[in-house]
Amino acid sequence: MTGAPLIEVEDLRIDLDDGSRRVAAAEGISFRIDRGETFGLVGESGCGKSITALALIGLLRQPLSIGGGVIRFEGQEIQHLSAARQRDLRGNRIAMIFQEPMTALNPVSPVGRQIAEMFVLHKGKSWREANQLAVEALASVRVSAPERRVNDYPHQLSGGMRQRVMIAIALACGPDLLIADEPTTALDVTVQAEIIELMRNLCAERGTAILMISHDLGLVANVCRRVAVMYAGRIVEERGSADIFRTPSHPYTQGLVDSLPRLGSRAALGRSRLKEIAGVVPAITNFPDGCRFNPRCAQATDICRTVAPTADVLEAGGLVRCHHHA
């Protein structure tokens, strides 16, 4: 589809206010997601990927706030919309599923009711109709015997089942964008694969775009067409997901790809150590000058320590923020 992208983030800055001073927890965040596209945001804990998602959905709370930049949903700026208009978008046009399916469901309410509530809330259905739709929604996420399961309480369901219910709730109103924040981290690997497959298929059927947030580069590359890698509050590289494995251009991405264990490799067979990225992630209050990756980067030179690199467009498509990119 042409025209305005579904969601467009431009130079977003998220401030952390600890009472005495403001620091940018994330800055210069720019990306766009088209209708029906799958986009991944990868990075280690604390790199700012989750707060970016919260900013999109208008849920940053003190001490975090949007410090600058623009978020457009279908060409319309949404960060200054009234609370009521934002609420109208949430759940209806933009939905989100969380890392912890254990806690994201209300323990005292049957799951069917929690799904049905979405239809009542956003689609103005009666409870009768909504309950019927809830059964269908539960069936669509491949829960067996949905007409019986709707009466179950969350604690009666397994982790995988709960995440299916969460997906049913999130997709109930046919949103245009689904934000999935580490949707499978708390699940077994086999269940993880099923859930990802389910999420991808349902979204593809309905033309729902996915913004997937994870620390698992392999998982994201598997699901998403394009991937952005974040480090210390900045997007360092944005590429097609196939390219990012084949020819990572930022040293950080390079490091990430190299540190993935591969079947049959020497490291996996126990004959050599798995590669790692030396050093630690800098504290949010103490980001280094210049390129934030420079203290851990083998290729760092003087310019890296003083000047923050800008986003360069790569010939093969994609963006990278590095003075020495390949």
Binding site: F98, A104, E117
Partner: protein
């Protein structure tokens, strides 16, 4: 399936008390007010006078039966008012926080600092004696504990995943409070509520004793107990039976609260089925 003894016994006691109050005209032997006869004064319990008679020859059994009406009305209605005020203030304060939380906290502290009976007395003094003013006075003075509990629950529930999820899914504040927070804090609120009903029954007794509650000669358990104070050594049945009525009702309410808390917890609910 394990039978919930506390729920059954508590419910039965409370239901019995309500039944007695409702059916008072049929259960009572005599009119509790008019049938005074000094010839029968201070009769001990017997086949004729089940619970004995008082110094004016009125049948204690009939008075206890009728007294259930006043005591239960006061207990239930005033505690309902308390619960509604307490939950509304506490829940909203805990969820919204900020200046509203400060206001509610200050108000709660003031309420806790003033002995509630004294405060109720002051309200009664303004409104004048009678059942309605009794309900209002007791209903406005005992919400601070409910408020504290509701606020504390709201504070801890607010950060639960499902409350945040509800926000993300586009729930409004009011809907979150009613569908997400309230059901999850109902257990302690109900328990506090049933305890509060018990203490409201006792407060009614105190206020009636001071002449601010139900006007004599109409009976309430509290006022009967107070009237019987002087004769506790010579005619103990005067205080034993209304006291027993209060005791059993409050006991029933507490057991009921306990049992309700168990079934309001969905985890224990499914364990039973």
């Amino acid at each position: 399936m394990k039978l919930r003894a506390n729920l059954v016994i508590g419910g039965a006691l409370f239901a019995l008390a309500i039944l007695v109050g409702v059916l008072a005209p049929w259960l009572a032997h005599t009119d509790p007010v008019l049938d005074a006869n000094l010839l029968n004064a201070e009769e001990p319990p017997s086949w004729t006078w089940w619970f004995g008679t008082d110094d004016q020859g009125r049948d204690i059994y009939s008075r206890v039966v009728y007294g259930a009406r006043v005591s239960l009305t006061v207990g239930i209605v005033s505690q309902l008012i308390n619960s509604v005020i307490g939950v509304a203030l506490g829940l909203s304060a805990g969820y919204w926080g900020g200046w509203w939380d400060d206001v509610v906290n200050a108000l709660t502290n003031v309420m806790l600092a003033i002995p509630s009976l004294i405060f109720a007395l002051a309200i009664m003094a303004v409104l004048g004696p009678g059942l309605t003013s009794l309900l209002i006075a007791l209903g406005l003075t005992n919400w601070s504990f409910t408020c504290r509990i509701a606020r504390a629950s709201a504070l801890s529930l607010r950060s639960q995943g499902y409350v945040q999820a509800a926000t993300v899914l586009g729930y409004g504040d009011l809907r979150i409070m009613i569908t997400q927070l309230l059901p999850n804090m109902l257990g302690p609120i109900v328990v506090i509520g049933t305890l509060g009903m018990g203490s409201a029954v006792l407060s009614e007794a105190a206020l009636s004793f001071l002449g601010l509650g139900v006007r004599p000669p109409f009976p309430s358990w509290g006022s009967m107990l107070s009237d019987a104070r002087d004769q506790i050594t010579t005619a103990p049945w005067l205080s034993v039976f209304p006291g027993l009525a209060i005791f059993l009702t409050v006991l029933g309410l507490n057991l009921l609260g306990d049992g309700l808390r168990d079934i309001l917890d969905p985890q224990s609910r499914s364990r039973r089925t």
